[in-house]
Each structure stands twice: as C-alpha cells, then as structure tokens.
C-alpha cells in the first residue's frame, strides 16, 4: 500500500531518485523535491495519523467500555481546532505572524490536553469525565462559531478547508518532532496492555484485581492526547479512522487481547489512511475531494452497520 500511495501523483518515481533525494538532496531538482518534501511526508503522515488515530480510538473504546467511543471523545482535538480557528480567522497578529496554523493548533492541543488530564486527576467516575470532555468540545465549538461570525468569506473558506483534513500540510522538517512524540506514546502504550485487557470486564472489576485504575486512566488519556493532538495539529480533524478501525479489527480477529488489537489497529489504521489518501490523489484529475469526505464515505456506512449489529 505504501508503495502505491507514494507513487500516486503527477508523475512516476524511481528508486534512484528516491535514494538521491534522501541522501544527497539537491533542492533544485524538482523531482527530488517532490519526492522528499511532498510524497514522503504524505506517506509518513499517513502512517502516523492512521495508526495513531486507530490506536487512540481503541484506547478510548476500552476505557469507556463503549465501541462508539473515538479518539475525539474527550474533546482533546477541540483545543487544536479552536486555536487553528484563532490562527486562520482572526486578525490577531500574534497568531498570524508568529505562528503558523500548525504551531497554533499544537499549542491548543497542548493546553486542552493539560485541562483534560487535570480533570482526570480529580474526577472519580468515567461518566463525569466523559461529560467534561463533551462540554469542552461544545465550549470550544461555541467559541469557534463566534469567531466564524466575525470572519469574512475568505477566512471562513480557509477554516472550512482546514476542517476537511489533509496529509499534505506537513513538511520533511517536521518529522523529528512528530517521531519523538509518537514514540513516547508508543512506549507508554506497552505498559497499558495488561490493564487494557483487564479493563475489558469493567473498571470496578479491574480495580478489584489490583489494577491501579486511576493511574491507568491518566496514562491512557495522556497517550490519546499526544497522538490526537499531534495529528489534529498537522492534519486537521480526520474523521472516522479512530472509530471504525478498532471495531473492524475486533470483528476480524474476534479477540479482546489488546496485544493483537493494538497491532491490528496499527496495521489497519495505516491501510485505511493510505488508501483514503491514495484515493484522493487518484481522483484528483476528476475531482478534488477532501480527505475527510473519503474517510467519512467509507467509514460512515461501516459505523452504521456496526450499530445495527449491536442492536440485533
């Protein structure tokens, strides 16, 4: 899939070119530039976003014992959206000149992540935490609406485009930081496998088996916040991957063993993401479809099937 993805574009690539672009980069050679700073970042971001969102979705689904939970359930990405809105739609020079949109939304994700984590330290029940997350999301949504009402048509369009999701806004130079945080999240993930397997039978039962539930909750939220915040900042809010993929994996592998589920979410998340973006490129000459349109068109029917199955 990766090879298919990276080669879909306006022209063909060959191996020599790729090697050159990576190791002896010549920025005046357009083909090299395109490979290194356009194709590669898209592939890279597709991998990070696909796996990151799928895994975050899985974590939230297990934490809340609800297959309809997704990575955005605690309102973490609403911080990124709010600050992206600030950056794109207001004339506040702090946001437009100092920071680009990406930096602003990283800041927003960070701030909201801290807020959620702080709440999870104090709040006892999961329901309360859920409600807080929903409220945070609504609150920032309301603020965004206010900002929108004060914006002109061009700014509105820019923001709307941001919400449509894109793997193409990331550059080669962004890689190190993304990789760093991604691996921090993955590292912590290892320690959550056993607690996750236990949480499957409920938080109360897990606690009685010796699992430090509060601590685990915090770690899970922390991991989700890092992944979701990072991905939303660089790509905008990408829909459905975090919701559909973990459920697909559970259906396919018919297990609750989280080692399998995490690995499965990783692989299928990437496949789903790369396929969707490949489709965007493939259809480009006919129609410029935004990324979220495709993930939703594929993901939504799937989620509906899931709900029907659950009700049956």
């Amino acid at each position: 899939m990766a090879i298919l993805h990276i080669t879909e574009g306006q022209f063909d690539l060959d191996l020599n070119l790729m090697k050159k672009a990576l190791f002896s980069f010549d920025s005046t050679d357009t083909y090299q530039v395109i490979f290194r700073d356009f194709r590669l970042p898209r592939l890279f971001m597709g991998i990070i976003a696909g796996s990151g969102l799928a895994i975050s979705g899985l974590l939230m689904q297990t934490l809340f014992n609800n297959p309809l939970a997704g990575p955005y359930i605690l309102g973490i990405n609403s911080g990124a959206s709010l600050f992206a809105a600030f950056s794109i739609m207001t004339g506040v020079s702090f946001f437009t000149s100092q920071f680009g949109t990406i930096a602003s939304s990283l800041l927003g994700a960070f701030i909201f992540g801290i807020i959620i984590l702080s709440f999870s330290l104090f709040v006892r029940s999961r329901i309360s935490l859920l409600l807080i997350g929903v409220m945070l999301g609504s609150f920032s949504g309301a603020l965004i609406t206010v900002i929108q009402s004060m914006s002109n048509a061009f700014q509105l369009k820019k923001f709307t485009i941001w919400t449509m999701g894109s793997l193409q806004q990331v550059s080669f130079s962004d890689f190190p930081m993304i990789i760093l945080f991604y691996f921090i999240a993955l590292f912590l993930l290892v320690f959550t496998i056993k607690p996750l397997n236990t949480l499957v039978i409920g938080e109360e039962a897990a606690g009685l088996l010796g699992i430090p539930v509060k601590l685990v909750r915090i770690i899970l939220i922390f991991i989700t916040a890092i992944l979701t915040g990072l991905i939303t900042a660089y790509c905008g809010p990408i829909a459905f991957v975090g919701l559909a993929v973990p459920n697909l994996v559970k259906l396919l592998f018919k297990t609750q063993n989280h080692s399998t589920l995490i690995l499965g979410s990783f692989v299928f998340g990437i496949l789903f993401m790369l396929f969707s973006d490949w489709l965007v490129q493939f259809l480009w000459s006919e129609i410029h479809l935004p990324l979220n349109a495709i993930t939703s068109l594929i993901g939504a029917p799937f989620v509906i099937l899931l709900i029907l199955r659950k009700l049956a």
């Binding site: 306006q10 700073d37 680009g100 894109s166 935004p290």
Partner: protein, 364 residues
C-alpha cells in the same frame, strides 16, 4: 411674415433634430469594453440595462427618469440625479471618489474593508452606516438611511428584501463590474454611477482619460525587449488557485507583455491545481505575482515548502496584500496604474514611472 415663420420652423426643426442626433450618437459609443451593462438613449429618455454574465440576458432594466419626464409603468424607475446611495462594494467607493460624489454615500457594507479616510471618518462618526452582511438587520439600516439606490455585487439573485425596499422607493442595482474580464471594461462602470448622479459628462471624460493612458501603456509594453515569465496565485489548503487564461488578471498580464505561464488555459475564473503540479511547472519560473502574503515570513509560515520556488529564493515576488483595501477600492477605476506597476516591475528597460502605485516587492 409667413416666410419668417417658415424659416423659424425649419430652423427649430433642424436644430432639434441635431440635438436628438447628438443623444443618439452618444448611445452608439456609450459602452465600449464592459459587457455587463448598457446605457441606452431613446430620444431624451435614458435607460440602464444590467446584463447577467451567466445567462447573458438582461437581468434588470431601469428607466432613469429626469425631472419633468413622465413616469413609466412598465419598468423600474429611478429618479435621477439620485441624492444618496448605498455603495456596498469597495470598487463602487473608488468610482464615486473619482466623481467627487463621496458625500452621496450613506451606507457601506463593512468598515473593515474601507481604505478611504474620509469614508472611514464618517463611519466612525455615524454619518455613514455599515451593514456588515446582507441579513435582516442590514436591511433596516438601509431603510432608515432612506437612500435612493443600493448598489451591490450581483450574483444572479435579487437583493434581500428587494421588494420591500422597492415599495419604499429604494431601488437595488446589481453590479457586475466584478465579472468584467477586461480591465477597461471594469473601469467603465463609472459611467453607471455617472448617469445615476447626473455626472454623465464627468464620468465619460474621466473614462476617456483612463482609456487613453491604459492603451498607451499597452503599446509601450509591446516594445519591451523581454517578456518575463511569471506565475500567479496561491495555495488554499491543498489546492493552488491561479488565474485562468481568459480571466481578468490574465488579460492584465497579457497587456503588460508578460509571459504568463497559464496564458493558454481556458476559463475566465481560476485554475485549481495541486501544489505538486504547480511546483513541477514553476520551480524555475522567474517571477511570482499575487502570492496573497504580506511578507516572506508570512508566506513561509503558511506553507514552508514555498521556499523551493526559485522566485522565492531570488525574492522576485510581488503582491499588493499590504494595502489590500486600498487596492480593491482603487485598482478597478485606475487600471492604468496597475498596468503601470507591472511595466515598472517587469520592463525596467522602458521609460516608465519611477514609482509603484499598488504592487510591492515582498519583504522579509
């Protein structure tokens, strides 16, 4: 005795006829470049016709009733000269400015887009009302101001609550200056304001000046030794929008004797391309116009990959974004100055003016 009466009669008759003829002659040359409106004269009666650029049909027609003329029941009537106007587009303000008719403006749309200082001052003091968008509150402001005419940018739909306004004696005129593809065609809309305000002569004279200056510059540009390659437009999300080959900007570039990269493309609007495509086609293009950024740091903040363009590396990028409002207000009615800018930038070999009116080279 009888003989003198006959002479008088013939004399009066012939002079009348020549008066009539003059009006008819004006009708013949009334509108030369603009395609979306017509001023027609039938005898002493003047008619204004607005043509929808999509359908190419007459969208609306007005009888411009002068003092003493009879009413007409069969079409909308505007009593001219009008006393007050709601000028809802920046370009209208620029045109009214050239006719010294800023005092007739009572309503504008958004104060954030005004460049003209006296208009801004009147907005602050409340003499001019702004309506922001075109929702229900805005219509109240228009009614309250009792303007004679509302000029708005047409989209093929009537102005909100147009009927209500008509009943109160306020006519809404859709302007399609923004859909003109010839720079002179856009400027020619000053004639519309001219006939509305009873300043027809001034409007026609002003336009003649602009026309002459513009066409002279076109001739001048043709004589340049080079025709630099230039690309235009910018990214919005993942899509790059560049003027298509038959668009307003493309005509401008052509008149400036520039080699615009997409000059052979079809369409009067924008081309939408992927960033990859644009980079492939323009990494080595010499100049970049209208990147929609105020500085290089602003540009690279929006999209760091812009640095790969040779034009960016050599800093050969020009834009008018640092004075957007000023540009939008004045460029429509002073196309010769825009053209002059392009010639100054791109044809240093020609003897052109030493200043730039709108465009600036991008700074860090």
């Amino acid at each position: 005795m009888k003989f003198s009466y006959v002479f008088l009669f013939i004399f009066l008759f012939t002079s009348c006829k020549s008066i009539i003829k003059k009006e008819l002659t004006v009708k013949g040359e009334a509108i030369k470049y603009a395609t979306n409106f017509k001023i027609e004269k039938k005898g002493l009666f003047t008619f204004l016709k607005i043509i929808n650029p999509e359908t190419k049909q007459i969208e609306i027609e007005y009888f411009l009733k002068k003092v003493g003329q009879p009413n007409r029941e069969d079409m909308a009537t505007i009593k001219v000269p009008i006393k007050s106007i709601a000028a809802l587009s920046s370009t209208h303000i620029g045109m009214l400015n050239k006719l010294n008719s800023l005092d007739n403006i009572l309503v504008i749309s958004d104060t954030n887009y005004i460049s003209n200082k006296s208009i801004k001052g009147k907005c602050r003091s409340g003499h001019i009302k702004s309506i922001g968008g075109e929702g229900i509150e805005s219509v109240e402001e228009i009614i309250y101001s009792k303007v004679n005419v509302v000029c708005y940018s047409g989209f093929g739909k009537p102005f909100p609550h147009q009927d209500k306004l008509k009943r109160l004696g306020i006519n809404c005129i859709p302007n399609y200056d923004w859909r003109e593809y010839h720079p002179l065609g856009k400027a020619e809309w000053i004639k519309l304001f001219g006939v509305l305000l009873g300043k027809e002569k001034e409007a026609f004279e002003y336009f003649e000046q602009v026309e002459k200056a513009y066409n002279n510059l076109v001739e001048l540009a043709k004589g340049s030794i080079s025709s630099p390659t230039v690309f235009s437009g910018s990214l919005l999300g993942d899509i790059w929008y560049a003027p298509a080959g038959e668009s307003f900007n493309a005509k401008l570039y052509e008149d400036a004797h520039l080699n615009y990269i997409y000059k052979d493309s079809k369409g009067t609007g924008s081309l939408s391309k992927s960033f990859e495509e644009v980079l492939l086609e323009n990494q080595n293009t010499e100049y970049w116009l209208n990147p929609n950024a105020v500085s290089f740091s602003n540009l690279l903040n929006i999209q760091p990959k812009m640095t790969y363009f040779k034009a960016v590396k050599n800093k050969k990028v020009y834009d008018y974004s640092s004075q957007m409002n000023f540009f939008w207000e004045n460029s429509a009615i002073e196309p010769q100055k825009v053209l002059s800018d392009l010639i100054t930038i791109f044809h240093p070999d020609l003897k052109s003016v030493d200043r730039l009116y709108f465009y600036q080279q991008l700074k860090d």
